[in-house]
Structures are given as C-alpha cells and as structure tokens.
C-alpha cells in the first residue's frame, strides 16, 4: 500500500522548480505555517537571511531537542533503547558540544586536500562507467547506469563497505526517504539498515582496514560506542550516495534543457566549477535540512515563534531569493558562486561538500565529452520527477547519443 501524502509547500515542485506559492510566502510574510511530511506542525522560513540565521544559531534553534521528529503516536511505540539507537552518531540530531566532538573526528577526512587525492580514482570510476555505457550502446538509463553507481562506489570505497551490497542499501535508502512509503515500513527499513551497518562495524573492529571505518575504529575506537559508529557510518553511506546521485541525474537533465550551457560545460574546463555551484543552487535538491526546535521565543521576519516549536529552513526558497542574486529562477552557469545554501549553513553545513563537488566536477564534463550528442531518449514530459522524497531527483533518465 502506498500513501500519497500532501507535501509541505517547500517540498512541492514543478519539474526543477519550487512552486509559485513558496515565492509568494518569501515575498509576503517570509514565514508561514506548514505540516511536515510526518504530520507535525512547523514554521517554514523562506528568506535567505532568515534561513542563514536559523541554521547558524544552535542555541536558539536546536537539532538535539527532537532529533529526527516523529509523530508522537509513532515515537511512543519505540523503546527507549531504540530511540537512543536512532540518535547515536547522528550528527544531524546533535548540538554542540556533542556535535563538535563527533564532527571533529571526521573533518580531517574531508579536507579539500584529502578529497583532492581521490581525484584520480574518481576519474577512473567515471571513465569505467562511461566505457560500459559506450560498449552497450544507446539508449540507456543514466540514473541507474551513471548517476547512482558512481557516488555509491566512491562512498563504499571511502567508507569500507563492500560494493556488492549496493542493491540492498540503495533500495533501503530510496524507500526510507520516500514519504509515500508507510511510516512503519520506513522504520523497519531503518532497523534493517542499522543491522546491516552493525555487521560492517563488527567486521571493521575485528580487522580495521585503511578506509574510514577502519580509521574511526583505530583512532577513536575507545571514544565511540558501537551504536555511535553505526550511526556515523550509516549517515555517511546514505548522505554519500543518495544526494550526489540526484545532483548528477537532475543536473544532466537541466543541462540537456539548456543546450548552450551544456556546450560550455563540455568545451570549457573553466566553466565547470561555477556550473556545479549554479546547479547546486538552482536545483537545491535538499529542500530543507532536518527541522530545528526553538529553545526560546524567537522573532523571524517579524513573526514571533514560541519556544518548543519546529522550524524548517527552506534552503530551496533561500537559494531562489532575489536578495541572494538577480533573476534567481534562471539557470546561468556562468555566474556560479558559493553563496548558496544548497549544502546548508552553520555548523551542520554538509560534511561531504568537498567530495560531492569533486564527483560532480569530474562526472559532468566527462559524460558530455564522451557523448557530445547526448540527448533525451523520451520526450521531456515523460521524465519522472520524484514527488514525495526528502531529496529531489529523477526516477530515471532515458538518454541516447
């Protein structure tokens, strides 16, 4: 059985774009009431400056107060132990100083220099996938053959999870984050994912390898509980493949819809980095981070919000705010800069941003150079955008060349 929940305003899209109603809120009050996909009432914050304010002040807008908020009737069914397990190691459900402690263990692994060292391997992985596509010939689904496998393989190698397990974790991730899947099934999938990761952590503890799990065990093994290790690794695996893959799929479609810009990315190496930033901004595939909870009465855009309320920062609205740049609804890869909030803002700003940037700046031009005639294999109207997902993306992208 599949539910079709009504998505909150900022999670509704028409193709690439947020709906007009979201812009109206940003222009009028700036803040509005919504119901989260879990059925909880929340405040939606839409302006660039307000979004940055919410995300940069954990003292007033807490991640830890509710963790990943579930409806009361669901939360009541969970044991204390399970609630604790769901939170352990989850950077996104923490405030300082707990958050700082865990994040500091991971930052050295994601520096620009460390990720730079992965460039040759990422290039190789991209080329292998392009070789396979070329050998088998058109048409092909770019999501299942390119956008999803590349970041999946990269994060598996980095973390130390066997790539052979991909079918299982890709399916679990996709359904766990799909709000049209009944909540009980999603909770069951979360448990399955945790058990899978427990197996990986136990293996890493017995024989820590040169990968990130091995590093965590070797260097921080005595400071981290098994549940924390499972939580950290689980978050990295999910965030590491589900996000970049949707950027690669949607980003390719966006370029196919803007042929002159596609040609620039293909032919001018200097155009690639700004293009990646502009695609991040324009697509803002993560419409909002996880909800924050007010720890005190606050005022945002003139609206008073009482203590203990959920606040959602609409990254997708902030990234289309005319206060950030002119003509925000237009995709223009020549102006790309890093002022956007597609990776979030504040202390929870995406840990994997340097990796995601490296994957995108390698994959987009390589794809377009290998297949200069790349084109949709079906009419645009037949492309399936995901409608009820925590992360915006495509079901599939049939292409030819």
């Amino acid at each position: 059985m599949t539910e079709t929940p009504v998505m909150p305003l900022h999670m509704q899209r028409v193709g690439f774009d947020p709906v007009d109603g979201l812009a109206r809120v940003r222009e009028n009050g700036g803040v509005t009431r919504v119901v989260t996909p879990f059925g909880l009432p929340a405040w939606l914050v839409t302006r660039y400056e307000d979004v940055r304010e919410v995300l940069s002040d954990p003292a007033r807008f807490s991640n830890a107060r509710r963790g990943f908020p579930l409806p009361d009737e669901v939360e009541l069914q969970l044991s204390e132990e399970e609630i604790a397990q769901r939170r352990a190691g989850q950077l996104l459900a923490m405030d300082p100083p707990d958050h700082t402690r865990l994040r500091r263990m991971l930052t050295p692994e994601f520096t620009v220099r460390r990720i730079g060292r992965l460039a040759p391997r990422i290039e190789q992985i991209v080329e292998q996938h392009l070789d396979d596509l070329e050998r088998e010939g058109p048409p092909a689904d770019l999501v299942s053959r390119f956008a999803l496998p590349i970041p999946s393989l990269v994060i598996c190698e980095l973390l130390g999870v066997p790539y052979a397990e991909r079918a299982g974790f890709q399916r679990r991730t996709r359904r766990q984050l799909d709000f049209s899947v009944p909540i009980q099934e999603r909770l069951a999938l979360q448990r399955e994912s945790r058990e899978f990761m427990r197996g990986q952590v136990v293996r890493a503890k017995a024989a820590p390898g040169e990968d990130m799990l091995g590093m965590l065990v070797r260097e921080h093994g005595d400071e981290l509980t098994e549940d924390e290790l499972i939580g950290i690794a689980g978050l990295l695996l999910v965030a590491g493949h589900e996000t970049t893959s949707n950027m690669l799929g949607l980003g390719t479609l966006a370029l196919l819809c803007h042929p002159e810009q596609l040609a620039l990315v293909r032919d001018d190496p200097a155009a690639v980095e700004p293009a990646v930033e502009e695609l991040l901004r324009w697509l803002s595939i993560v419409p909002s981070g996880i909800p924050r909870v007010t720890t005190t009465e606050v005022t945002l855009a003139g609206q008073t919000i009482p203590e203990g309320e959920l606040v959602m920062a609409a990254l997708v609205a902030a990234d289309r705010d005319p206060a950030l740049l002119d003509e925000p609804d237009r995709l223009d890869i020549t102006r790309g800069g890093m002022g956007h909030v597609a990776f979030g803002h504040g202390l929870h700003h995406c840990l994997g941003a340097p990796l995601a940037r490296m994957e995108m700046k390698t994959a987009f031009p390589a794809l377009l150079r290998r297949f200069p005639q790349l084109a949709l294999a079906v009419p645009y109207e037949e492309i399936g955008f995901r409608g009820h997902h925590f992360i915006h993306g495509l079901h599939s992208l049939p292409v030819t060349w």
Binding site: F110, R114, M338, F343, G344, G346, L347, A353
Partner: protein
Amino acid sequence: MRVSADRDVCIGSGNCVLTAPAVFDQDDEEGLVVVLTSDVEGPVADVVRAAVARCPSGALRLIEGQEPPAGP
C-alpha cells in the same frame, strides 16, 4: 585589511580554501582552517571578502585596516 580565523568555530567545510587558496588552507591533523597570509590588499582582498561571506560557520573575520595611500 587583515583576516583572522577562529579554529574553535571552524567546521572544516573548505569553502574558503576553494575560494581563496592563496590565503586559506586546512591542516591535515584536524582539517580546520589555517590562514596563510593575514594581510591582504588589492584584488586578493575582494576574493577574501567573498570567502568570508561564504564561510558557513562564521569562523572568519575581517579587520578593515588602513588602505595604503592612494597612488599618484
């Protein structure tokens, strides 16, 4: 103009390193920001201003110092 960084606040996003690699780096041990040259003038100053604006954690600070005397 001077730029300073608070490593207690930095979250190691690397935005500043990607924006102004001549001015910012991250150390290998902690992955946190290191300011390579804190006195910045001329065109570099504009890039550094952009880097400061793009820092997600608010770890970077600008201290607008005395500009050198204007040219002839």
